[in-house]
């Protein structure tokens, strides 16, 4: 697992601590406690962790670990870090 995925996993583990289990398959539908407040905490934590600003459509698309990782990787690549 690369560093970006590991850091994102840690954020998912901490935000969705009430729903233990593998992070890679988590989606908004199958994760207990992924409500609007948790989603906002997830978005803000990702922005703080990676130093990025997420656009509104990216915030809406971020409904699973996989899509979240893709979005973060794309952002970092655009910044020349990917």
């Amino acid at each position: 697992m690369d560093d970006t995925a590991a850091r994102l996993e840690r954020i998912f583990e901490e935000i969705f601590w009430t729903d233990p289990g593998p992070v890679s398959g988590k989606t908004r539908e199958n994760t207990a406690g992924w409500d609007s407040l948790a989603h906002l905490n997830l978005v803000l934590s990702i922005e703080q962790e990676f130093g990025i600003a997420l656009a509104d459509d990216e915030v809406v698309e971020m409904t699973a670990f996989g899509t979240s990782l893709e979005i973060v990787r794309t952002k970092l690549q655009l910044r020349g870090e990917g």
Partner: protein, 575 residues
């Protein structure tokens, strides 16, 4: 602290069952609440107060609950412009036009009435209000961003007027570091704060609501290079600078700042390595903002400064940890840090910007939410103490007797309903030496104590022919069924030691509540030996766990001896 770290901290924290902080706002506090809770957990790692919040559309409910069932707990009301007028928000369902000034003022009157009612209903509980930043106002005026139109100014003035009214009623106003609007979270989630500003604002709020240290009592300043520019012993009084211009200007401002602190209750003293003859006779001839009478004590000699600071603390009858000193000499400051680490030592600045930092540091160390009558009279009280000492020296002191006080015209006025006097809690929380437990009480602890069945709070004010000591004693406790009063606390100001006031007040209490005994608990704090000595001298019964018990006859004998020796008059404030 990252948000995820704050969230993790909240999961592992231990929370108090007894203490709550009410957070009221008409927006969703979200990350501000998270950081507020995290800051409380950091401040109180053992048992943090739990934040209970009322957010979007729940302000009225929060106002009701925090003035009823949760009335004793501290409350933080974070206002937003929409509380003043619904159109003063980007989230308005109405037009984005500035309301007419008359409309703003009418709504401000309604908001004022509601919030004054809230503060009044909360009584003595700690209530805090945060004024919203201008950046949260929508661009409803016709002027460019950064300019302020008449509408914005009307809103600002109206909000300021409402909050000023609350402040006059004892509500504490916080100016939190919030200067931007988080438009994404404001429109998307109803929270106007950015995550970064949420953390800074929450930390500042906790620092202000739960200050980490106790208010200092005395400020000792050096003279040369601190109170004026120059060296009086070498340059002469005519060449030192302290006027409102040139090199003396910062020193002039500093002196006026010290005078302000004195009026707010700080005792001033100076400590200088100089010949007394070069300083004391000329001090008042210099016509500076400060005169020698503004100082409660001074030392002007060539002794080591730590020795002089000890002597000043002894003369003022306060602990060294209540002292702050300001000196321009790094060597003196290093010596004090080494020998007296409990004294807070600050260096006189070398640049004008440094002066502002010094003023802010001193303001923080001597800050208070309320300047009491006793604060205003403190330096006079220290001067009266010197007169008493001089008068007392003329009469020989017999061991075990207070007859030397007979001509002092002592008068003790006892107040029975002292829970409602803010000075009572202030005295409980600032007294170290005559203090049964050393326990510090929050306003909510105080209100809970007051609500206990049979609770009483008696205070006493002392006067003599030299002046008024103010309120110097507080007894807090509750009645027990077996005609025994259980005391949770007795505190006596160190200024009133050695007059037998404590025995007389206990005797008054026994007669007032008609009990046959008084009991309590003593905890050795390392500083409260005078309280232990009082209990021992009255021959109280001790049990192993620090509990003590005094019978009424023992108290009566002791009080009678004091009254016979001193001729003290005792009366009730009720007449």
């Amino acid at each position: 602290m990252l948000l995820r770290e704050a969230l993790a901290l909240l999961r592992s924290a231990r929370y108090s069952d007894a203490h709550t902080l009410c957070l009221l706002c008409s927006f969703e506090p979200l990350h501000f609440k998270t950081y507020l809770q995290a800051s409380l957990v950091e401040r109180f790692p053992e048992t943090a107060p739990r934040v209970t919040s009322w957010g979007y559309d729940q302000l009225e409910l929060g106002l009701q609950e925090s003035s009823q069932a949760l009335r004793v707990h501290p409350a933080l009301l974070f206002l937003s412009w929409g509380d003043l007028h619904p159109h003063l928000s980007w989230r308005t369902r109405g037009p984005l036009e500035m309301p007419l000034p008359g409309d703003i003022h009418a709504r401000a009157d309604a908001l004022r009435e509601r919030l004054v009612g809230w503060v009044t209903a909360r009584g003595a509980a700690d209530s805090y209000v945060v004024v919203p930043p201008l950046a949260w106002l929508p661009l409803s005026d016709h002027v460019a961003p950064g300019a302020l139109g008449a509408g914005s100014m009307s809103a600002w003035a109206a909000m300021g007027g409402v909050v000023a009214d609350l402040a006059q009623r004892g509500c504490r106003v916080l100016d939190l570091p919030v200067a931007t609007l988080n438009m994404r979270d404001w429109l998307g989630a109803g929270c106007p704060l950015t995550v970064e500003e949420s953390e800074r604002a929450a930390r500042r709020a906790v620092e202000l609501m739960y200050p980490p240290g106790e208010r200092k009592k005395a400020l000792v300043v050096d003279l040369d290079g601190t109170l004026w520019h120059g060296v009086i012993g070498e340059d002469g009084p005519e060449r030192i600078a302290y006027g409102p211009e040139g090199l003396g200007f910062p020193f002039h401002v500093f002196q006026k700042f010290l005078l302000k602190l004195k009026k707010e209750g700080a005792l001033l003293a100076f400590c200088t390595k100089n010949n007394a003859a070069d300083v004391v006779p000329v001090f008042d001839k210099l016509q500076m903002p400060l005169s020698i009478a503004d100082f409660a004590a001074y030392r002007c000699n060539w002794e080591p400064k730590p020795d002089n600071l000890r002597a000043i603390a002894a003369e003022l009858n306060i602990g060294l940890d209540s002292l702050v000193c300001v000196d321009d000499s790094p060597a003196e400051l290093a010596l004090m840090a080494n020998v007296l680490p409990e004294v807070r030592a600050l260096q006189t600045p070398r640049s004008s910007q440094g002066w502002l930092q010094l003023f802010e540091a001193l303001q923080g160390l001597f800050a208070t939410w309320r300047v009491s009558e006793e604060d205003r009279a403190r330096t006079d009280s220290a001067a009266h103490a010197k007169s008493r000492a001089a008068a007392g020296a003329a009469t020989p002191v017999e061991p075990g007797s207070l007859r030397h006080l007979r001509g002092f015209d002592l008068e003790l006025t006892v107040r029975h309903d002292a829970f409602g006097d803010p000075r009572s809690l202030e005295l409980v929380n600032k007294t170290n030496q005559f203090n049964l437990t050393g326990e510090r009480w929050s306003a909510s602890d105080w209100l809970r104590t007051q609500q206990a069945p049979g609770a009483f709070c008696v205070s006493a004010r002392l006067r003599d022919r030299f002046g008024d000591f103010g309120t110097i004693l507080v007894l807090v406790g509750s009645m027990r069924p077996e005609r025994c009063a259980e005391l949770q606390q007795i505190v006596l100001s160190c200024r009133a030691f050695g007059r037998g006031v404590e025995a007389v007040a206990l005797d008054w209490l026994c007669r007032w509540v008609d009990v046959g005994c008084v009991s309590g608990r003593f905890v050795d704090t390392g500083k409260n030996a005078p309280a232990a000595k009082f209990l021992r001298d009255l021959k109280c019964e001790w049990t192993g766990d620090g509990s003590w018990r005094l019978t009424r006859p023992l108290i009566e004998v002791s009080a009678k001896a004091v009254l016979d020796d001193t001729g003290m008059r005792v009366r009730s404030s009720d007449g």
